[in-house]
Amino acid sequence: MIDKRATVVILVLASAAACGGWWLQRHLLAPAQTPRSAPAIEAAPSSRPSIPVDLVLPDLDGRPQRLSQWRGQRVLLNFWATWCAPCRKEMPELSAAQKKHPQVRIVGVAMDQPQAVREYLKQTPVDYSMLIGIDASPDPSQQFGDNVGALPYSVLIGVDGRVLRSKLGPFDTGELEHWLGP
Protein backbone atom coordinates (compact mmCIF):
# COMPACT_ATOMS: atom_id res chain seq x y z
CA MET A 1 0.00 0.00 0.00
CA ILE A 2 1.46 3.37 -0.99
CA ASP A 3 0.69 6.23 1.37
CA LYS A 4 -0.62 9.66 0.43
CA ARG A 5 2.84 11.17 0.15
CA ALA A 6 3.88 8.58 -2.41
CA THR A 7 0.74 9.32 -4.40
CA VAL A 8 1.64 12.99 -4.52
CA VAL A 9 5.20 12.11 -5.58
CA ILE A 10 3.91 9.92 -8.40
CA LEU A 11 1.54 12.61 -9.63
CA VAL A 12 4.31 15.22 -9.56
CA LEU A 13 6.64 12.83 -11.41
CA ALA A 14 3.93 12.10 -13.95
CA SER A 15 3.31 15.78 -14.68
CA ALA A 16 7.04 16.46 -14.86
CA ALA A 17 7.46 13.57 -17.28
CA ALA A 18 4.52 14.81 -19.34
CA CYS A 19 6.04 18.30 -19.61
CA GLY A 20 9.45 16.80 -20.34
CA GLY A 21 8.01 14.51 -22.98
CA TRP A 22 6.15 17.38 -24.59
CA TRP A 23 9.28 19.50 -24.61
CA LEU A 24 11.37 16.64 -26.10
CA GLN A 25 8.75 15.99 -28.74
CA ARG A 26 8.54 19.64 -29.68
CA HIS A 27 12.19 20.67 -29.61
CA LEU A 28 14.32 17.61 -30.13
CA LEU A 29 12.38 14.94 -31.94
CA ALA A 30 10.63 17.23 -34.39
CA PRO A 31 12.94 20.23 -34.78
CA ALA A 32 11.63 21.48 -38.09
CA GLN A 33 7.94 20.85 -37.67
CA THR A 34 6.40 23.96 -36.27
CA PRO A 35 3.08 23.13 -37.88
CA ARG A 36 2.61 19.39 -37.51
CA SER A 37 0.08 18.98 -40.28
CA ALA A 38 2.29 17.47 -42.95
CA PRO A 39 4.86 14.83 -42.14
CA ALA A 40 8.36 16.17 -42.68
CA ILE A 41 10.45 13.50 -44.26
CA GLU A 42 13.93 13.86 -42.93
CA ALA A 43 16.45 11.36 -44.08
CA ALA A 44 17.55 9.00 -41.34
CA PRO A 45 20.80 10.23 -39.82
CA SER A 46 22.60 7.09 -40.97
CA SER A 47 21.94 7.99 -44.61
CA ARG A 48 23.53 11.41 -44.25
CA PRO A 49 27.17 11.60 -45.17
CA SER A 50 29.15 12.09 -41.97
CA ILE A 51 32.17 13.54 -43.72
CA PRO A 52 32.04 16.76 -45.74
CA VAL A 53 30.94 16.06 -49.30
CA ASP A 54 32.48 18.18 -52.00
CA LEU A 55 31.12 18.34 -55.50
CA VAL A 56 32.03 20.09 -58.70
CA LEU A 57 28.99 20.88 -60.82
CA PRO A 58 28.60 23.14 -63.85
CA ASP A 59 26.70 26.41 -63.51
CA LEU A 60 24.27 27.71 -66.14
CA ASP A 61 27.16 28.86 -68.32
CA GLY A 62 28.88 25.49 -68.06
CA ARG A 63 31.65 26.73 -65.75
CA PRO A 64 32.59 24.20 -63.08
CA GLN A 65 31.77 25.32 -59.55
CA ARG A 66 33.16 23.65 -56.48
CA LEU A 67 30.80 23.37 -53.51
CA SER A 68 33.62 23.91 -51.01
CA GLN A 69 34.12 27.47 -52.30
CA TRP A 70 31.32 28.40 -49.89
CA ARG A 71 32.92 26.63 -46.92
CA GLY A 72 32.68 28.90 -43.90
CA GLN A 73 29.05 29.79 -44.53
CA ARG A 74 25.99 27.61 -44.36
CA VAL A 75 24.82 26.30 -47.74
CA LEU A 76 21.28 25.22 -48.58
CA LEU A 77 21.17 22.87 -51.57
CA ASN A 78 17.78 22.56 -53.25
CA PHE A 79 17.54 19.76 -55.82
CA TRP A 80 14.77 20.43 -58.35
CA ALA A 81 13.67 20.00 -61.98
CA THR A 82 11.42 21.89 -64.39
CA TRP A 83 9.06 18.90 -64.63
CA CYS A 84 8.56 18.91 -60.86
CA ALA A 85 5.58 21.11 -59.97
CA PRO A 86 6.11 21.05 -56.18
CA CYS A 87 9.74 22.13 -56.78
CA ARG A 88 8.66 25.07 -58.93
CA LYS A 89 6.11 26.09 -56.35
CA GLU A 90 8.69 26.62 -53.61
CA MET A 91 11.31 28.45 -55.69
CA PRO A 92 9.94 31.98 -55.05
CA GLU A 93 10.08 31.17 -51.34
CA LEU A 94 13.74 30.24 -51.71
CA SER A 95 14.42 33.54 -53.52
CA ALA A 96 12.79 35.46 -50.68
CA ALA A 97 14.75 33.46 -48.11
CA GLN A 98 18.04 34.24 -49.89
CA LYS A 99 17.29 37.98 -49.67
CA LYS A 100 16.37 37.68 -46.01
CA HIS A 101 19.35 35.52 -45.04
CA PRO A 102 22.35 36.77 -47.06
CA GLN A 103 24.70 34.94 -44.68
CA VAL A 104 23.36 31.61 -45.99
CA ARG A 105 24.21 30.55 -49.55
CA ILE A 106 21.23 29.01 -51.32
CA VAL A 107 22.19 26.85 -54.29
CA GLY A 108 19.64 25.29 -56.60
CA VAL A 109 20.81 22.04 -58.21
CA ALA A 110 18.76 21.29 -61.32
CA MET A 111 18.37 17.57 -62.04
CA ASP A 112 17.23 18.48 -65.51
CA GLN A 113 18.51 19.24 -69.01
CA PRO A 114 20.52 22.51 -69.06
CA GLN A 115 18.49 23.88 -71.99
CA ALA A 116 15.17 23.32 -70.20
CA VAL A 117 16.59 24.89 -67.03
CA ARG A 118 17.89 27.99 -68.85
CA GLU A 119 14.57 28.51 -70.63
CA TYR A 120 12.61 28.10 -67.43
CA LEU A 121 14.79 30.52 -65.45
CA LYS A 122 14.54 33.10 -68.24
CA GLN A 123 10.78 33.12 -67.66
CA THR A 124 10.95 32.66 -63.90
CA PRO A 125 14.25 34.01 -62.56
CA VAL A 126 15.45 33.13 -59.08
CA ASP A 127 17.65 35.15 -56.72
CA TYR A 128 20.07 32.41 -55.75
CA SER A 129 22.88 30.39 -57.32
CA MET A 130 22.11 27.63 -59.78
CA LEU A 131 24.06 24.53 -60.75
CA ILE A 132 23.22 21.66 -63.08
CA GLY A 133 23.37 18.24 -61.47
CA ILE A 134 21.94 15.98 -64.14
CA ASP A 135 25.14 14.89 -65.83
CA ALA A 136 27.09 14.33 -62.64
CA SER A 137 27.97 10.81 -61.64
CA PRO A 138 27.36 9.60 -58.99
CA ASP A 139 23.99 11.28 -58.70
CA PRO A 140 24.56 14.31 -56.44
CA SER A 141 21.15 14.14 -54.71
CA GLN A 142 21.82 10.49 -53.84
CA GLN A 143 25.27 11.46 -52.55
CA PHE A 144 23.48 13.78 -50.17
CA GLY A 145 21.14 11.05 -48.99
CA ASP A 146 18.07 11.23 -51.28
CA ASN A 147 17.42 7.51 -51.11
CA VAL A 148 13.93 7.72 -52.59
CA GLY A 149 15.29 9.53 -55.63
CA ALA A 150 12.47 12.07 -55.82
CA LEU A 151 12.32 15.87 -55.83
CA PRO A 152 12.35 18.44 -54.31
CA TYR A 153 15.15 17.44 -51.96
CA SER A 154 16.91 19.95 -49.74
CA VAL A 155 20.09 19.72 -47.71
CA LEU A 156 21.50 22.22 -45.23
CA ILE A 157 25.28 22.13 -45.00
CA GLY A 158 27.05 23.61 -41.99
CA VAL A 159 30.03 25.98 -42.01
CA ASP A 160 32.35 22.96 -41.73
CA GLY A 161 30.85 21.29 -44.79
CA ARG A 162 28.90 18.67 -42.87
CA VAL A 163 25.25 17.98 -43.54
CA LEU A 164 23.03 19.43 -40.80
CA ARG A 165 19.60 18.60 -42.15
CA SER A 166 17.99 17.07 -45.18
CA LYS A 167 14.43 16.82 -46.34
CA LEU A 168 12.53 15.11 -49.12
CA GLY A 169 9.51 17.16 -50.18
CA PRO A 170 8.73 20.87 -50.13
CA PHE A 171 9.21 22.97 -47.03
CA ASP A 172 6.19 23.34 -44.77
CA THR A 173 5.05 26.82 -43.81
CA GLY A 174 7.72 28.41 -41.64
CA GLU A 175 10.05 25.43 -41.96
CA LEU A 176 12.58 27.10 -44.25
CA GLU A 177 12.75 30.02 -41.82
CA HIS A 178 13.42 27.55 -39.03
CA TRP A 179 16.29 25.99 -41.04
CA LEU A 180 17.94 29.24 -42.01
CA GLY A 181 17.38 31.19 -38.80
CA PRO A 182 20.29 31.79 -36.45
Binding site: I10, A14, A17, I41, A43, W83, A85, M111
Partner: protein, 321 residues
Protein backbone atom coordinates in the same frame (compact mmCIF):
# COMPACT_ATOMS: atom_id res chain seq x y z
CA UNK B 1 20.03 0.63 -9.37
CA UNK B 2 18.93 -2.25 -11.58
CA UNK B 3 17.76 -4.67 -8.87
CA UNK B 4 16.01 -1.89 -6.94
CA UNK B 5 14.15 -0.77 -10.02
CA UNK B 6 13.06 -4.25 -10.92
CA UNK B 7 11.90 -4.95 -7.37
CA UNK B 8 9.79 -1.79 -7.45
CA UNK B 9 8.48 -2.77 -10.82
CA UNK B 10 7.50 -6.25 -9.64
CA UNK B 11 5.86 -4.85 -6.54
CA UNK B 12 3.50 -2.87 -8.80
CA UNK B 13 1.54 -6.00 -9.38
CA UNK B 14 0.94 -6.72 -5.71
CA UNK B 15 -0.46 -3.27 -4.97
CA UNK B 16 -4.09 -2.18 -4.73
CA UNK B 17 -5.76 -1.11 -7.93
CA UNK B 18 -5.66 2.67 -7.26
CA UNK B 19 -1.90 2.65 -6.81
CA UNK B 20 -1.37 0.43 -9.79
CA UNK B 21 -3.42 2.87 -11.81
CA UNK B 22 -1.15 5.70 -10.69
CA UNK B 23 1.98 3.79 -11.63
CA UNK B 24 0.34 2.94 -14.92
CA UNK B 25 -0.28 6.63 -15.52
CA UNK B 26 3.37 7.38 -14.81
CA UNK B 27 4.55 4.67 -17.19
CA UNK B 28 2.12 5.79 -19.89
CA UNK B 29 3.27 9.38 -19.60
CA UNK B 30 6.91 8.34 -19.73
CA UNK B 31 6.25 6.22 -22.78
CA UNK B 32 4.31 8.91 -24.60
CA UNK B 33 7.19 10.86 -26.18
CA UNK B 34 8.74 7.56 -27.24
CA UNK B 35 5.53 6.63 -29.01
CA UNK B 36 5.52 10.03 -30.71
CA UNK B 37 9.06 9.35 -31.89
CA UNK B 38 7.99 6.02 -33.31
CA UNK B 39 5.23 7.73 -35.28
CA UNK B 40 7.72 10.18 -36.75
CA UNK B 41 10.00 7.42 -37.94
CA UNK B 42 6.99 5.64 -39.43
CA UNK B 43 6.19 8.69 -41.56
CA UNK B 44 9.79 8.76 -42.74
CA UNK B 45 9.22 5.35 -44.28
CA UNK B 46 6.09 6.53 -46.02
CA UNK B 47 7.49 7.66 -49.36
CA UNK B 48 8.09 4.90 -51.87
CA UNK B 49 10.77 4.51 -54.45
CA UNK B 50 9.53 4.91 -58.00
CA UNK B 51 9.68 1.16 -58.71
CA UNK B 52 7.42 0.48 -55.71
CA UNK B 53 5.06 3.41 -56.23
CA UNK B 54 4.55 2.41 -59.88
CA UNK B 55 4.82 -1.37 -60.06
CA UNK B 56 5.17 -2.51 -63.61
CA UNK B 57 4.48 -5.98 -64.91
CA UNK B 58 4.32 -7.29 -68.44
CA UNK B 59 2.91 -10.23 -70.26
CA UNK B 60 2.88 -11.49 -73.80
CA UNK B 61 -0.84 -12.18 -74.06
CA UNK B 62 -0.40 -13.89 -77.41
CA UNK B 63 2.38 -13.68 -79.97
CA UNK B 64 2.41 -10.09 -81.20
CA UNK B 65 0.57 -8.57 -78.27
CA UNK B 66 2.42 -7.24 -75.26
CA UNK B 67 0.41 -6.11 -72.27
CA UNK B 68 1.85 -3.74 -69.70
CA UNK B 69 0.26 -3.26 -66.31
CA UNK B 70 1.12 -0.66 -63.74
CA UNK B 71 -0.15 -1.04 -60.23
CA UNK B 72 -0.05 2.49 -58.82
CA UNK B 73 0.13 2.95 -55.05
CA UNK B 74 -2.57 5.10 -53.38
CA UNK B 75 -1.84 8.86 -53.61
CA UNK B 76 0.60 8.42 -56.48
CA UNK B 77 -0.04 9.11 -60.15
CA UNK B 78 1.65 8.64 -63.51
CA UNK B 79 1.75 11.19 -66.32
CA UNK B 80 0.20 9.86 -69.53
CA UNK B 81 2.51 11.73 -71.87
CA UNK B 82 5.68 10.59 -70.06
CA UNK B 83 5.24 6.93 -70.87
CA UNK B 84 7.61 5.66 -73.53
CA UNK B 85 8.35 2.17 -74.72
CA UNK B 86 11.40 1.13 -76.66
CA UNK B 87 12.32 -2.26 -78.11
CA UNK B 88 16.05 -2.59 -78.10
CA UNK B 89 16.12 -5.43 -80.62
CA UNK B 90 16.34 -4.12 -84.18
CA UNK B 91 14.32 -7.14 -85.36
CA UNK B 92 11.20 -6.02 -83.50
CA UNK B 93 8.73 -3.73 -85.24
CA UNK B 94 6.25 -2.24 -82.84
CA UNK B 95 3.25 0.01 -83.10
CA UNK B 96 2.96 2.98 -80.75
CA UNK B 97 1.80 2.05 -77.27
CA UNK B 98 -1.97 2.13 -76.81
CA UNK B 99 -2.84 4.04 -73.66
CA UNK B 100 -6.34 4.61 -72.32
CA UNK B 101 -7.53 8.17 -71.72
CA UNK B 102 -6.26 9.46 -68.40
CA UNK B 103 -7.87 11.62 -65.75
CA UNK B 104 -7.66 15.36 -66.35
CA UNK B 105 -5.54 17.25 -63.87
CA UNK B 106 -5.03 20.97 -63.88
CA UNK B 107 -1.66 21.78 -62.45
CA UNK B 108 -0.97 25.49 -61.95
CA UNK B 109 2.66 24.87 -62.92
CA UNK B 110 2.32 22.34 -65.71
CA UNK B 111 -1.09 23.25 -67.14
CA UNK B 112 -3.55 20.55 -68.19
CA UNK B 113 -2.11 17.10 -67.88
CA UNK B 114 -3.57 13.63 -68.14
CA UNK B 115 -2.72 11.27 -65.32
CA UNK B 116 -3.40 7.72 -64.15
CA UNK B 117 -4.19 6.69 -60.61
CA UNK B 118 -4.55 3.16 -59.10
CA UNK B 119 -3.80 1.10 -62.16
CA UNK B 120 -2.97 1.37 -65.83
CA UNK B 121 -3.22 -1.19 -68.59
CA UNK B 122 -1.61 -0.58 -71.92
CA UNK B 123 -0.94 -2.78 -74.90
CA UNK B 124 1.55 -2.80 -77.72
CA UNK B 125 1.30 -4.71 -80.98
CA UNK B 126 4.63 -5.91 -82.28
CA UNK B 127 6.03 -8.11 -84.98
CA UNK B 128 9.23 -10.08 -85.10
CA UNK B 129 11.11 -9.51 -88.35
CA UNK B 130 14.08 -11.59 -89.41
CA UNK B 131 15.91 -13.70 -86.87
CA UNK B 132 13.69 -14.75 -84.00
CA UNK B 133 15.22 -13.57 -80.71
CA UNK B 134 14.68 -15.86 -77.70
CA UNK B 135 13.62 -12.94 -75.54
CA UNK B 136 11.58 -9.83 -76.11
CA UNK B 137 13.54 -7.02 -74.51
CA UNK B 138 11.63 -3.83 -73.94
CA UNK B 139 12.50 -0.73 -71.96
CA UNK B 140 9.62 1.15 -70.43
CA UNK B 141 9.97 4.70 -69.15
CA UNK B 142 7.43 6.35 -66.93
CA UNK B 143 7.24 9.30 -64.59
CA UNK B 144 4.92 10.34 -61.81
CA UNK B 145 4.37 12.09 -58.50
CA UNK B 146 3.08 11.71 -54.97
CA UNK B 147 0.05 13.96 -54.75
CA UNK B 148 -0.48 14.52 -51.03
CA UNK B 149 1.95 16.11 -48.57
CA UNK B 150 4.86 15.79 -48.86
CA UNK B 151 4.31 16.40 -52.58
CA UNK B 152 7.22 15.03 -54.53
CA UNK B 153 7.89 14.02 -58.12
CA UNK B 154 10.11 11.32 -59.51
CA UNK B 155 12.55 11.64 -62.38
CA UNK B 156 11.77 9.57 -65.45
CA UNK B 157 12.53 6.00 -64.55
CA UNK B 158 13.25 3.26 -67.03
CA UNK B 159 12.66 -0.41 -66.43
CA UNK B 160 13.96 -3.06 -68.77
CA UNK B 161 11.71 -6.07 -69.16
CA UNK B 162 12.75 -9.31 -70.67
CA UNK B 163 10.04 -11.73 -71.72
CA UNK B 164 10.70 -15.12 -73.25
CA UNK B 165 9.29 -15.37 -76.76
CA UNK B 166 7.83 -18.62 -77.92
CA UNK B 167 5.72 -19.37 -74.87
CA UNK B 168 2.27 -18.01 -75.46
CA UNK B 169 1.54 -17.08 -71.88
CA UNK B 170 5.00 -15.60 -71.56
CA UNK B 171 4.44 -15.27 -67.87
CA UNK B 172 6.67 -18.04 -66.64
CA UNK B 173 10.05 -16.46 -66.47
CA UNK B 174 9.52 -12.80 -67.12
CA UNK B 175 11.81 -10.68 -65.01
CA UNK B 176 11.80 -6.97 -64.44
CA UNK B 177 15.37 -5.83 -64.89
CA UNK B 178 16.95 -2.87 -63.13
CA UNK B 179 15.24 0.45 -62.74
CA UNK B 180 17.45 3.40 -63.46
CA UNK B 181 17.19 7.10 -63.41
CA UNK B 182 17.05 7.86 -67.08
CA UNK B 183 19.99 10.19 -66.95
CA UNK B 184 21.80 9.52 -63.73
CA UNK B 185 24.11 6.74 -62.72
CA UNK B 186 22.91 3.30 -61.72
CA UNK B 187 23.44 1.65 -58.43
CA UNK B 188 23.84 -1.99 -59.49
CA UNK B 189 23.06 -3.29 -56.02
CA UNK B 190 19.82 -1.36 -55.73
CA UNK B 191 18.93 -2.55 -59.20
CA UNK B 192 19.46 -6.17 -58.20
CA UNK B 193 17.27 -5.73 -55.15
CA UNK B 194 14.47 -4.49 -57.33
CA UNK B 195 14.50 -7.49 -59.65
CA UNK B 196 11.40 -9.57 -59.22
CA UNK B 197 9.31 -12.02 -61.10
CA UNK B 198 6.18 -10.91 -62.89
CA UNK B 199 3.00 -11.90 -61.01
CA UNK B 200 1.56 -15.09 -62.42
CA UNK B 201 -2.02 -16.30 -62.19
CA UNK B 202 -2.52 -19.61 -60.33
CA UNK B 203 -3.20 -22.89 -62.11
CA UNK B 204 -6.85 -23.85 -62.69
CA UNK B 205 -8.31 -27.31 -63.19
CA UNK B 206 -10.30 -27.32 -66.44
CA UNK B 207 -13.94 -28.43 -66.31
CA UNK B 208 -16.14 -28.84 -69.38
CA UNK B 209 -19.50 -30.15 -68.21
CA UNK B 210 -22.06 -29.92 -65.43
CA UNK B 211 -21.07 -33.41 -64.27
CA UNK B 212 -17.39 -32.51 -64.03
CA UNK B 213 -18.19 -29.41 -62.00
CA UNK B 214 -20.49 -31.29 -59.66
CA UNK B 215 -17.91 -34.02 -59.13
CA UNK B 216 -15.11 -31.54 -58.44
CA UNK B 217 -17.27 -29.54 -56.02
CA UNK B 218 -18.29 -32.73 -54.17
CA UNK B 219 -14.66 -33.82 -53.90
CA UNK B 220 -13.68 -30.41 -52.56
CA UNK B 221 -16.50 -30.52 -49.99
CA UNK B 222 -15.30 -33.96 -48.88
CA UNK B 223 -11.86 -32.43 -48.33
CA UNK B 224 -13.50 -29.45 -46.55
CA UNK B 225 -12.23 -26.98 -49.16
CA UNK B 226 -14.04 -24.08 -50.83
CA UNK B 227 -14.21 -23.87 -54.64
CA UNK B 228 -13.77 -21.10 -57.13
CA UNK B 229 -15.37 -21.74 -60.53
CA UNK B 230 -14.22 -19.33 -63.20
CA UNK B 231 -16.05 -19.00 -66.52
CA UNK B 232 -13.58 -17.93 -69.15
CA UNK B 233 -13.35 -17.48 -72.90
CA UNK B 234 -11.02 -16.03 -75.47
CA UNK B 235 -11.90 -12.57 -76.71
CA UNK B 236 -13.63 -11.79 -73.44
CA UNK B 237 -12.34 -8.47 -72.19
CA UNK B 238 -13.06 -8.84 -68.51
CA UNK B 239 -11.72 -12.40 -68.41
CA UNK B 240 -8.24 -11.36 -69.36
CA UNK B 241 -8.09 -8.49 -66.90
CA UNK B 242 -9.35 -10.78 -64.19
CA UNK B 243 -6.62 -13.29 -65.06
CA UNK B 244 -3.69 -10.91 -65.45
CA UNK B 245 -4.56 -8.32 -62.83
CA UNK B 246 -6.71 -9.91 -60.14
CA UNK B 247 -5.80 -13.61 -60.04
CA UNK B 248 -2.12 -12.81 -60.62
CA UNK B 249 -1.93 -10.36 -57.71
CA UNK B 250 0.28 -12.00 -55.05
CA UNK B 251 -2.20 -11.31 -52.21
CA UNK B 252 -5.03 -12.88 -54.21
CA UNK B 253 -2.88 -15.88 -55.07
CA UNK B 254 -2.15 -16.34 -51.40
CA UNK B 255 -5.85 -16.11 -50.52
CA UNK B 256 -6.64 -18.68 -53.23
CA UNK B 257 -4.24 -21.23 -51.71
CA UNK B 258 -7.00 -23.06 -49.85
CA UNK B 259 -9.44 -23.06 -52.78
CA UNK B 260 -9.99 -25.71 -55.41
CA UNK B 261 -9.75 -23.71 -58.64
CA UNK B 262 -11.95 -24.76 -61.54
CA UNK B 263 -12.12 -23.13 -64.93
CA UNK B 264 -14.81 -23.61 -67.55
CA UNK B 265 -13.56 -22.36 -70.92
CA UNK B 266 -16.67 -21.67 -72.98
CA UNK B 267 -14.89 -20.26 -76.05
CA UNK B 268 -16.11 -23.13 -78.24
CA UNK B 269 -19.77 -22.28 -77.51
CA UNK B 270 -20.63 -25.99 -77.69
CA UNK B 271 -23.55 -27.87 -76.11
CA UNK B 272 -21.69 -28.74 -72.91
CA UNK B 273 -20.46 -25.17 -72.45
CA UNK B 274 -23.91 -23.67 -73.10
CA UNK B 275 -25.48 -26.19 -70.70
CA UNK B 276 -22.97 -25.24 -68.04
CA UNK B 277 -23.72 -21.53 -68.45
CA UNK B 278 -27.46 -22.25 -68.35
CA UNK B 279 -27.11 -24.46 -65.28
CA UNK B 280 -25.79 -21.48 -63.34
CA UNK B 281 -28.05 -18.93 -65.02
CA UNK B 282 -25.19 -17.14 -66.75
CA UNK B 283 -25.34 -15.34 -70.08
CA UNK B 284 -21.60 -15.17 -70.76
CA UNK B 285 -18.20 -14.96 -69.13
CA UNK B 286 -16.55 -13.44 -67.19
CA UNK B 287 -18.20 -14.96 -64.15
CA UNK B 288 -16.68 -16.21 -60.93
CA UNK B 289 -18.72 -18.51 -58.68
CA UNK B 290 -17.66 -19.33 -55.14
CA UNK B 291 -18.70 -22.46 -53.29
CA UNK B 292 -18.32 -22.86 -49.53
CA UNK B 293 -16.53 -25.89 -48.13
CA UNK B 294 -20.03 -27.41 -47.69
CA UNK B 295 -20.28 -27.65 -51.50
CA UNK B 296 -23.05 -25.02 -51.74
CA UNK B 297 -22.66 -22.02 -54.04
CA UNK B 298 -22.58 -18.65 -52.28
CA UNK B 299 -24.94 -16.87 -54.67
CA UNK B 300 -24.43 -13.64 -52.73
CA UNK B 301 -20.73 -13.69 -53.62
CA UNK B 302 -21.11 -14.24 -57.36
CA UNK B 303 -18.93 -11.98 -59.48
CA UNK B 304 -20.13 -11.06 -62.97
CA UNK B 305 -17.47 -9.02 -64.76
CA UNK B 306 -14.15 -7.69 -63.65
CA UNK B 307 -13.15 -6.80 -60.11
CA UNK B 308 -9.92 -5.22 -58.85
CA UNK B 309 -7.71 -7.28 -56.50
CA UNK B 310 -8.63 -5.45 -53.25
CA UNK B 311 -12.38 -5.96 -53.65
CA UNK B 312 -11.93 -9.48 -54.91
CA UNK B 313 -9.89 -10.34 -51.82
CA UNK B 314 -12.76 -9.10 -49.70
CA UNK B 315 -15.13 -11.42 -51.57
CA UNK B 316 -12.80 -14.41 -51.14
CA UNK B 317 -12.51 -13.84 -47.41
CA UNK B 318 -16.29 -13.96 -47.11
CA UNK B 319 -16.39 -17.28 -48.95
CA UNK B 320 -13.67 -18.82 -46.81
CA UNK B 321 -13.69 -17.11 -43.42
Amino acid sequence: MGPVLSKDFLSLFSQPRRDRALWGLLLAVLAWPAAGGALDSASEQALLKAADAFRLSAQIVRPGLLRLHWSIAPHYYLYRDRIHVDFSDAGIRAEPIRLPAGQELHDPYLGHVEIYRDALDASIMYAVAGAHPSNLRVSVTSQGCHEIDPKICYPPSTQILELPLGTVSGADAAIVLPTTRESGATNPLAALQRMRAIPRPPAFQPVGSIEQVQRAVAEAAAADRPVLLDFDAEKCGGCESLETQTFAEPAVRDALEGFVLLRADVTADDTAGRALLRRYGLARPPAVLLFGSNGKERRDLRLLGFEAPADFLHRLRKASP
